[in-house]
């Protein structure tokens, strides 16, 4: 079954979406969209490092993303610059560094577009193994730290006071983000990973009654976006990564119209 490139793409894409959904919820709740962007921009530096040191690309991307996120944690504690300026600094300097390093390595011929926008149709069986192995690990760890991470998301000091060790949970979360970016890069590319994290979660928010439900819904909506996007790209011969994101956007817009009545009900409730 996995001999067909389209089936491989579908299996890989759904695997990434199922992992990105729950993590994306935390990105949305904690207003970390720009953080996701920063890590994915840094991924390109990881690619450059991989070529320079002749190591596995996924591993190199993970290492660079992890270093960037831990650096961010440390810089935030010193806090001489605001968080968004720090993120912008890290995002674009690592992207630029990655491009410069790649340009120096004249002997390396790489498809830059493949890394920027993803190359889901070139997914191999080992890639699928990495996605499902890494993905299962991410979901397992996330399930283990879920309560602590959620408490820290609602209020860090409350979580700290009641013994939930929020700093530890935050660090683990950063590492999970670095992992998901490393395994998702090939599917949608560094420029569009954040979309896979945020858009399904934002869509799920409209229907979710609780945080756990929102995480599951985000995973399902992400998987639907991948499926829809891949069939769309086959149908209209469009690039697959961007088409997946467009499919996710379409689902989001659909949820807006469908949920209009619900939202109206909410506003009247608040107005009382």
């Amino acid at each position: 079954m996995l001999d067909d490139f389209f089936v491989r793409a579908l299996v890989a894409g759904v695997g990434v979406a199922v992992v990105a959904g729950p993590l994306g919820c935390f990105i949305v709740w904690r207003r970390l969209a720009y953080f996701g962007d920063t890590l994915s921009h840094a991924a390109l530096l990881g690619v450059a490092m991989a070529f320079l040191l002749e190591m596995n690309i996924t591993l190199a991307v993970f290492i660079v993303s992890a270093v960037v996120s831990v650096t961010l944690l440390l810089l935030q504690r010193r806090a001489t610059l605001s968080s968004d300026s720090l993120l912008g600094l890290l995002a674009h300097s690592s992207l630029a560094l990655g491009l410069v390093v790649l340009a120096f390595m004249t002997w390396v011929r790489i498809d830059l577009m493949g890394f920027l926008f993803g190359d889901i149709l070139a997914v191999s069986k080992p890639d699928i193994a990495v996605i499902y192995g890494g993905g299962a690990l991410i979901l397992l760890v996330l399930a283990l730290i879920w309560n602590r991470l959620f408490a820290a998301t609602v209020n860090r000091e409350l979580a700290e006071a009641e013994g939930m060790n929020p700093d530890g949970a935050n660090l683990v979360f950063m590492l999970l983000m670095a992992t998901v970016i490393a395994i998702a890069m090939k599917i949608v590319g560094v420029l569009l990973i954040t979309a896979m994290l945020i858009i399904p979660a934002a869509t799920a928010r409209r229907f979710a009654q609780g945080p756990e439900q929102m995480a599951v819904l985000a995973a399902v909506i992400g998987a639907l976006s991948v499926t829809g996007g891949l069939y769309g790209s086959l149908q209209w011969d469009t690039p697959s990564g961007p088409t997946i994101v467009v499919a996710a956007l379409a689902l989001f817009l659909l949820s807006l119209s469908g949920a209009a009545a619900r939202i109206a009900r909410f506003t009247t409730k608040q107005g009382e």
Partner: protein, 291 residues
């Protein structure tokens, strides 16, 4: 009560941020079954002191000792739940640990929010959310309950009822309570000890029995006398902007002394205590926004 081991004790504890002492030389002990109330003007270090007691902030000098395996219930001064977070009151109750259904029902009933069980916390009013936070903290059956302005946004009769509830929780659980009052002069009558802060401990002691006085009862009604009390304290020295202290007799010294009473609330604008108390209410305190 003195023989019970303290739940938490601060000795000469202080927090420094950017070269400024937010609070310094705080000595404070909370024992099981004891209610300690912190009062003081905005920025006097009330929340900072509470956070030191909780272990959220580590003291830069002095020491904080907490009983091992202390179970804490905390009601922070401000919790902003993001719009994107689908969080019902029921899920919020389980935030830092599962709570048995019977406990959950009981806590919601006692804070009068049983009907809001399935409501999303972001649509609650300020007073309702305050009740939900209190319900969550007491349902944990803590050893130490730390309440940072627990009745803010709650109307007057609700305030009395919540104070009575806090008093009865203390009886039931035998827990120690560290409470920050949003009013400079009015504290819970059941308070065993009032600690007045203004960057350091100005004065402390038991609340006076003013609540029983006829003037007070005429003002607030006899019912309220059982739940809240006026803390009478007189200011005999003022902290000047340069850090020196002017005493009631006009003399100026480098520091205030332990035998000094309470000082005026704000070093650079000296105001009538009543006016300051009003400000405290409306501004909802920037106190202790450190870290």
């Amino acid at each position: 009560m003195k023989e019970l081991t303290p739940l938490v004790s601060l000795s000469s504890a202080g927090i420094e941020r950017a070269g400024r002492w937010l609070v310094r030389n705080v000595d404070l002990t909370v024992r099981p079954g004891e209610i300690v109330t912190l009062i003081g003007p905005n920025g006097s270090g009330k929340s900072t002191t509470a956070k030191m007691a909780l272990g959220v902030l580590r003291p830069d000098e002095g020491a904080v000792e907490r009983k091992s395996k202390l179970r804490v219930g905390y009601v922070p001064q401000k919790v902003a739940v993001d719009w994107t977070l689908p969080l019902t009151v029921e899920r919020f109750m389980h935030l830092t640990g599962r709570i048995p259904v019977a406990e959950l029902d009981n806590a919601l009933a006692r804070t009068n929010i049983s009907h809001l069980r399935q409501a999303e916390v972001r649509v609650l009013s300020g007073g309702e959310f305050q009740r939900a936070m209190l319900a969550r903290a007491i349902a944990r059956k803590p050893d130490l309950l730390v309440l940072d302005e627990p009745v803010q946004g709650v109307d007057y009769s609700g305030e009395i009822a919540l104070y009575e509830l806090i008093g009865s929780i203390r009886q039931e659980l035998g827990c120690g309570i560290l409470m920050i009052s949003h009013d400079l002069h009015v504290v819970m009558a059941a308070t065993d000890q009032v600690v007045c802060l203004n960057g350091h401990v100005c004065c402390q002691g038991a609340p006076t029995t003013v609540a029983a006085s006829p003037e007070y009862q005429r003002l607030f009604g006899t019912h309220s006398a059982s739940a809240i009390a006026v803390y009478e304290h007189h200011h005999d020295h003022t902290h000047l902007p340069d850090g020196r202290v002017r005493h009631a007799d006009g003399s100026i010294t480098e520091h205030c002394h332990h035998e000094d009473g309470h000082h005026d609330h704000d070093s650079d604008h000296q105001k009538d205590p009543e006016v300051m108390a009003g400000e405290e209410k409306t501004e909802k305190g920037q106190a202790g926004h450190a870290g």
